[in-house]
């Protein structure tokens, strides 16, 4: 589709970093209007659509539903803007922004339905009156066509504001409880689309992990007498259980080259082993006399975060897989577990137990600074970086049930993901489809 070229190209990652995450040395022309209260929030509004398509309202609802999942976005109903939701033009010289600025709107979205099957969508920075991005989308018939289009637009929206639209292009695997001693692997898009159960075998599945190509999901599977490495093959639609001597299989993780890191026992204690492409033990990835679990490997395959109790209590460690050097990441707290390393290997998120339950923290491996990014209530566990390295999903009991929420690596308002009925846990991101 032809793109409405921006008048000024927004550099990747630039806008939201400028809006929300200023770094030293970064130019900050857009900072002014979101300083103070609410500085971690971008306000967005959708103007009344042009073209009069009967599908316009449904598309707005679909876009709103997607935007509601983003921890840094607050949508303002355009009908509440002085003068109403209607704008003079979908773009160009006729469009004015003053009243939107007065209403506190940061980003304005316009829609122009060319016909029932095509719509032009544009996004503007209201404060600057600047065109950010736009596209002409083909909308397939039916509600699914509208939702497809909304996903594409929102992926483009994230491309523009954080430099990566993977959130709306990726699948999320998770564990859902079906009943006593029955947990299955489910897969969906983060907005709940294409929700489906992909395993249905007696026992309990835990800790799903996607292969880099998105074809396989590995998981721990526990039945009445055995642990096993579960393998769901999305291509062949099969599920296998692979047992290991020692009867312990905990927390598998794919390496970038499709090998697998997983905790098995060698007769002494659970240690992290590397499995070859036939799921046979290759070698230990770290040799200690302690509990070592929950490997998480960056996209380069050179840095592995993991949990170990080698110094008494469980803490987060980092292993350089090229040199073998192990460094301790966490020193605060007495119980730090569930690490997930960002794809670029610069940040580890993990769960720290305090008196109120577990909370999610982010540790910057470059600056060696950590900060709390979730605040309960209940218990927040199992943080997992999305493939964009920006969003972080986790399981929380804050509603009284186990549910999956999303925040960013900087925190923000936790948004509930629609996983359906039953306890949901262990969110695991697959690779992003091409945009």
């Amino acid at each position: 589709m032809p793109l409405f070229l921006p008048r000024r190209k927004i550099p990747p990652l630039a806008l939201l970093f400028l809006l929300i995450l200023p770094s030293p040395g970064a130019a900050a022309p857009l900072m002014g209007y979101i300083e103070g209260a609410g500085k971690n929030t971008v306000t967005v509004t959708q103007a009344a659509p042009f073209g009069g398509s009967s599908r316009a309202a449904d598309l707005q609802r679909a876009v709103s539903g997607n935007l509601a999942l983003l921890p840094f976005v607050e949508e303002i109903d355009a009908r509440g803007v002085p003068g109403g939701a209607a704008v003079e033009a979908p773009g160009g010289q006729g469009l004015t922004f003053e009243r939107f600025v007065l209403a506190g709107v940061n980003l304005l979205i316009t829609a122009n339905w060319v016909d029932g099957g095509h719509v032009e969508m544009r996004c503007f920075s209201a404060g600057e009156g600047r065109f950010l991005f736009g596209n002409r989308y083909t909308v397939a018939p039916g509600q699914e066509g509208l939702r497809d289009m909304a996903d594409k637009f929102c992926a483009n929206f994230l491309d523009a504001v954080i430099g990566n639209g993977a959130f709306f292009r990726s699948n999320l695997a998770f564990i859902r409880t079906a009943g006593p001693r029955k947990k299955d692997v489910w897969v969906m898009r983060p907005n709940g689309r294409f929700l489906r159960r992909v395993t249905n075998i007696p026992g309990e599945a835990l800790s799903p992990a996607w292969s880099p190509d998105g074809r396989f999901v590995l998981f721990t599977h526990i039945d009445a007498r055995t642990h096993a490495l579960g393998v769901w093959d999305s291509g062949r639609r099969t599920v296998q259980r692979i047992k290991f001597p020692g009867n312990t299989v905990i927390g598998p993780a794919f390496m970038p080259d499709n090998r697998v890191a997983v905790s098995l026992t060698d007769g002494r204690n659970p240690s992290i082993f590397l499995l070859n492409h036939l799921f046979q033990k290759d070698r230990k990835l770290d040799d200690s006399l302690s509990i070592d679990v929950s490997p998480s490997v960056d996209a380069s395959g050179t840095r592995m975060a993991f949990t170990s109790n080698r110094h008494g209590n469980p803490h987060i460690f980092l292993k350089d897989l090229r040199t073998g050097t192990v460094t301790r990441v966490t020193s605060a707290g007495r119980y730090n577990t569930d690490p997930s390393i960002s794809p670029d290997g610069t940040v580890v998120v993990f769960a720290r137990r305090d008196s109120g339950g577990h909370r999610i923290y982010a540790y910057d491996l470059v600056t060696n600074q950590e900060r709390q990014i979730s605040f309960g209530p209940g218990s927040d566990e199992q943080p997992e970086f999305a493939p964009d390295g920006y969003f972080v999903t986790f399981m929380s009991t804050r509603s009284g049930q186990k549910r999956i929420y999303v925040i960013t690596r900087h925190g923000g308002a936790a948004k509930l993901l629609p996983t359906g009925q039953g306890d949901a846990s262990f969110p695991a991101w697959g690779p992003a489809a091409r945009g």
Binding site: R225, H227, D233, Q240, R241, S263, P270, F279, I291, N309
Partner: protein, 161 residues
């Protein structure tokens, strides 16, 4: 073809072989049909063994003296019935996280396993499994409940030979 794609293809082929041709490690479910009914004497022995739940301190897997006493009492019973098998189930309370608790439960099961071996029980009679915090014995969110959930349970069965 890139290295990555070659490796991805290799993984696909390997899984196809595992799934299609069968593999020594590909398993079937263990079901009660794998087990034989116990005689009256075996039922009595199984009850004594199963009643001997041992408990642990928070984030610990060393056996307390009273736990060792329970295991010392039950070891001769296990040895007396070589046709029986005992699955040692390691459990944790709800406060830890799932994966670490699976490892901790394994260490708890292993602690009892190794102590029973030291008392002369055949390793062929013993199995271990960790359930972490998946299966609490007692519901509750206080120390009283947690103390009852940090435990090893012993499930006795007679496998078909």
């Amino acid at each position: 073809m890139t290295t990555f794609l070659r490796r991805g293809l290799f993984l696909t082929l390997a899984l196809a072989l595992l799934g299609g041709a069968g593999c020594a490690k590909k398993t079937d479910e263990s079901t009660p049909s794998d087990e034989l009914a116990l005689t009256a004497q075996e039922q009595q022995a199984a009850r004594q063994i199963s009643d001997g739940v041992v408990y642990f301190e928070y984030d610990r897997y060393d056996l307390k003296s009273e736990s060792k006493a329970v295991l010392t009492k039950n070891a001769p019973v296990i040895k007396q019935y070589p046709g029986l098998r005992v699955t040692i189930e390691g459990h944790c309370d709800e406060r830890g996280t799932e994966e670490y608790n699976l490892a901790l439960g394994e260490r708890r099961a292993r602690a009892a396993y190794e102590f029973l071996l030291s008392l002369g029980v055949s390793p062929g009679q013993l199995e271990m499994i960790s359930y972490g915090k998946l299966h609490p014995a007692v519901e509750g969110h206080n120390e009283s409940a947690w103390a009852k959930n940090r435990r090893d349970e012993f499930r006795v069965f007679k496998p078909r030979r």
